[in-house]
Amino acid sequence: MNAVEIQDLHWRYPAFVGSENPWALQGVSLQIEQGEFFGITGTSGAGKTTICKFVLGLIPHAVKIPMRRVNHHLRGSVSVLGEAVTVVDPQAGPHPQTGEPLGAITRSGIISPRVGMVFQDPENQFLRMSLLHEVAYGLQILGLPKDEIERRVQEALAMVGLQDLWPVAEYLHPADLSGGQKQRVAIASFLAMRPEVLILDEPTSDLDPVGKHEVVAATRRLKQLHNLTVILVEQDPDVLASFCDRVALVSEGRVELVSPVRKFYSNMDLLSDRGIYTFEVSRIAQGARMHLGDGIPLSVEEAARAFPRDIDGSALPADPPPNQELLITVDDLWFRYEDGTVALKGADLSLHRGDFLALLGNNGSGKTTLAKVLNGIYRPWKGNARILGRDISQPRVRAQLPRSVGYVFQNPDHQIFTRRVYDEVAYGLRNMDVRAEEMHGRVLEALGAVDLLDKQDEDPLFLGKGQRQRLAVASILAMKPEIIIVDEPTTGQDFRMVTSIAQLLQDLHARGRTILIITHDMTLVTNYCKQATVMLDGRTVFHGTPRELFSNSEVVRATGLRVPQAIALSCAIRAEEPDFPLLLNVPEWLAALSRQNSRV
């Protein structure tokens, strides 16, 4: 039996002001088998979340359709586990005056608890005041007896690896939990309800790579135990390929491709055209036009078997020597939060003029804390930190730090203070009392750098997420800081948005800006960053080039960083052929392979 059956689904979100929205779904048909682990991928705004909300019944049953004009917003049908969730009768619901049929939605809607859905932001899903009650809530709604609730909560916490918190679950407030823990709690809340279909809508965006794999692996174990059907919306091909049976490509409101993983990721032309993440090794194989026997490689092991070994590494680009002018020196820095938590325990960092440095580490390793100390937001506790030669333990120096260190926050919504794009960029300059003529020039220059000149009179709140993020960068750029810190700019974004923001940072770097980026995206590091500093538990454990970092298996193991496929492949081949060059990223591989081809 099919767990989910969607027939020719069309959907248009109601617009309550201004012009009509375009169709968000344009004829989606999809069958998901019971017990299947089904992946959905696609760019932002393609309609992935909308499809999931239809499976749950949130759309259209929790949406107000203006003036009951159902036909104007919805066509098609959705059934889940043999139950019709949404069926549209286009002939029903005559208009009171004209008699023309407006359409009507029949059937039940949300079929909790048989279907559960975990949303992107774990903060918004935490509805109760304690961990215990958060996981118990669905069970309380189901009206289960107390001992059953108790048993299931305990079991669900164990499934997501939070069994240690069970004894104190009643006393843990949401604010006591980290982002990663909240994400696990969100999943546990549904697991406890024992759904037959579980939808995970990019549930791992707040997790570091290790946490991400752990959570999805827990879901898969469950699937095997209870014949659960899982629908996973995800961008990362690594996660999709490791866990899914089939993957669907959603693009502009249509399902363009549904295939088993291997076949899915062999459609390189379609996927790259649609802006979907693909495997690095596949991109190398395709870019070098390799003719490989059984299709395109997806994993490092497959690629290591198939790729040529006789690559000449002599033309490997040398890592540029760092500029000798030190902008930031941090030496044995300690930081303690008001509640007594010690987040930095002797961190070190040095940043030279013109660096493009990645600050890496798992959730809770202290990288954001360190960056906020460098921006003057937090006051260091102990140790030595100098920026442009000035000691930032002095309050007077710290107050002036925003002039020399710019900080772009992760969520653009947290940093938009005005209702006009121009004013937004000017805001920081007004705070710094820059003269009017100079300000105008600086605002236009910053807007030009992020390609938002034509939007200067618009309301920032109506820009897309990518544009709002560019605006946040422009607002900092206009203040002309010596150093720009960017905090996780790519979290939860699709391939195109990541490439565009990375390109922007690279342009800024090429024009002489010094950039420090905090990220979990290791591909970003190998493709763009020149140096990397890795933190673990409040301490700095590594500093060097990305090439040195990812070829150092000890550091990688200790810090749990994910090694991007391109350099993992070089390392795998070097284990057998010690002379093989340490190629860092896809462009380096392609350059080396093309040199080899021309030699042949």
Binding site: L58, A62, F119, E123, E170, D176, I377, R403, G428, S475
Partner: protein
């Protein structure tokens, strides 16, 4: 997120403190084990008793001191970390001293013995032009023209006015004398000393008790009590969503404020108006994030199966029983209230401290 990650380390070690409305408390402190209803009724009844004790005709200083000591003990027993609320205690004392002085001035009761008397105001307002008045107005104006700042100008003007009055270089032209209010004098008598002291101890008791209440009450507990009281589920559901949104808003506010600092709001020294405007700017991102969050919260509630307000989830470890100790305490408190309010119990009279009013 890192603070939370740090507390994860504490979670592994087992937690001893739990978050309350204000700060946090030890999980197993005596007051943490009391039912919230007992604490709430206690604060209410004791406040009524205190109001009675502070009465002008029959003050009960001994009773007020006793209750103040007991409430301070309750505060220290609350299981909250003393260093967290120490600053609140420091603020209370200057505040109470100010109140003490005010009651001395505005209480003309002469009691049986007057220790000190000094007329402060004769009951008429004099409208006059004088040299010191001119100094008080003109000096700050001139200073502002020159220095573009007001505070030191005001201080200077005041100093100049006082100096003129003290040196008797203060010619004045009386325009009118208007009777207003009644004459005031500073009287320190046995009676008004006792009343002022009673009030100081009484208000201190109220502050201690309210602090204890908010420091030992958890939001989860409050919601449980609301259900125990038999309020409709929709009420406690909305309260719960509201409290939860508030805690998200606090989190967002912190980040937004940091983002504002990163944009240089503190780079220049600003006046009060500038600071208020900065704070007002926070509302744009704060409201936007709250609206974006609210739609998702709605979806999450639906997804969990809470699709109609008529659904009433079953109880699970939310409410706690009213134990014998709660009952005993409540009975004692009611008895105290009845004794003081109905039977005019006055501890001071009982132990022989009486202050009669002047005939």
């Amino acid at each position: 997120m890192n603070a939370a990650a740090g507390s994860a380390a504490r979670q592994r070690e087992g937690i001893r403190y739990v978050r309350t409305f204000l700060f946090s408390m030890q999980i197993d402190s005596p007051l943490a084990r009391l039912h919230i209803a007992t604490k709430f009724v206690g604060v209410l009844l004791i406040s009524l008793v205190i109001v009675r004790q502070m009465s002008m005709h029959d003050p009960d200083p001994a009773g007020a001191v006793l209750l103040a000591v007991l409430s301070l003990v309750a505060l220290l027993m609350s299981g909250a970390l003393v260093w967290l609320f120490r600053s609140y205690l420091f603020v209370i004392f200057p505040m109470l001293t100010m109140l003490f002085l005010t009651w001395l001035i505005f209480n003309p009761d002469r009691g049986t013995q007057v220790y000190f008397e000094r007329p402060l105001y004769d009951g008429t307002l004099t409208l006059a032009l004088s040299a010191s008045l001119a100094a008080l107005v003109l000096f700050p104006m001139i200073y502002y023209r020159l220095a573009r700042s007001l505070s030191w100008g005001l201080v200077g003007g005041l100093a100049l006015a006082l100096a003129l009055a003290w040196l008797k270089l203060n010619p004045r032209l009386v325009l009118a004398q208007v009777p207003f209010f009644h004459p005031l004098s500073l009287i320190v008598s046995d009676k008004n000393l006792v009343v002022a002291a009673t009030k100081v101890f009484g208000y201190a008791t109220m502050v201690f008790l309210s602090l204890t209440l908010v420091m030992t009450t958890r939001d989860a507990e409050t919601l449980g009590a609301m259900q125990q009281l038999g309020l409709p589920y929709s009420v406690s559901f909305f309260t719960s969503v509201m409290l939860r949104s508030l805690s998200m808003a606090v989190l967002d506010y912190g980040t937004i404020r940091q983002a504002q600092v990163a944009r240089g709001v503190d780079v220049q020294r600003k006046g009060v108006v500038g600071r208020i405007l900065d704070l007002a700017r926070v509302s744009v991102p704060l409201i936007v994030t709250m609206i974006r969050r609210s739609t998702e919260v709605g979806d999450a509630v639906n997804a969990r199966g809470m699709t109609r307000l008529s659904i009433r989830p079953v109880e699970y470890r939310e409410t706690r029983p009213i134990r014998a100790v709660d009952l005993v305490l409540m009975v004692l408190l009611v008895a105290l209230a009845v004794a003081v309010l109905v039977f005019q119990l006055n501890l001071s009279r009982l132990i022989g401290i009486t202050v009669a009013s002047a005939p």
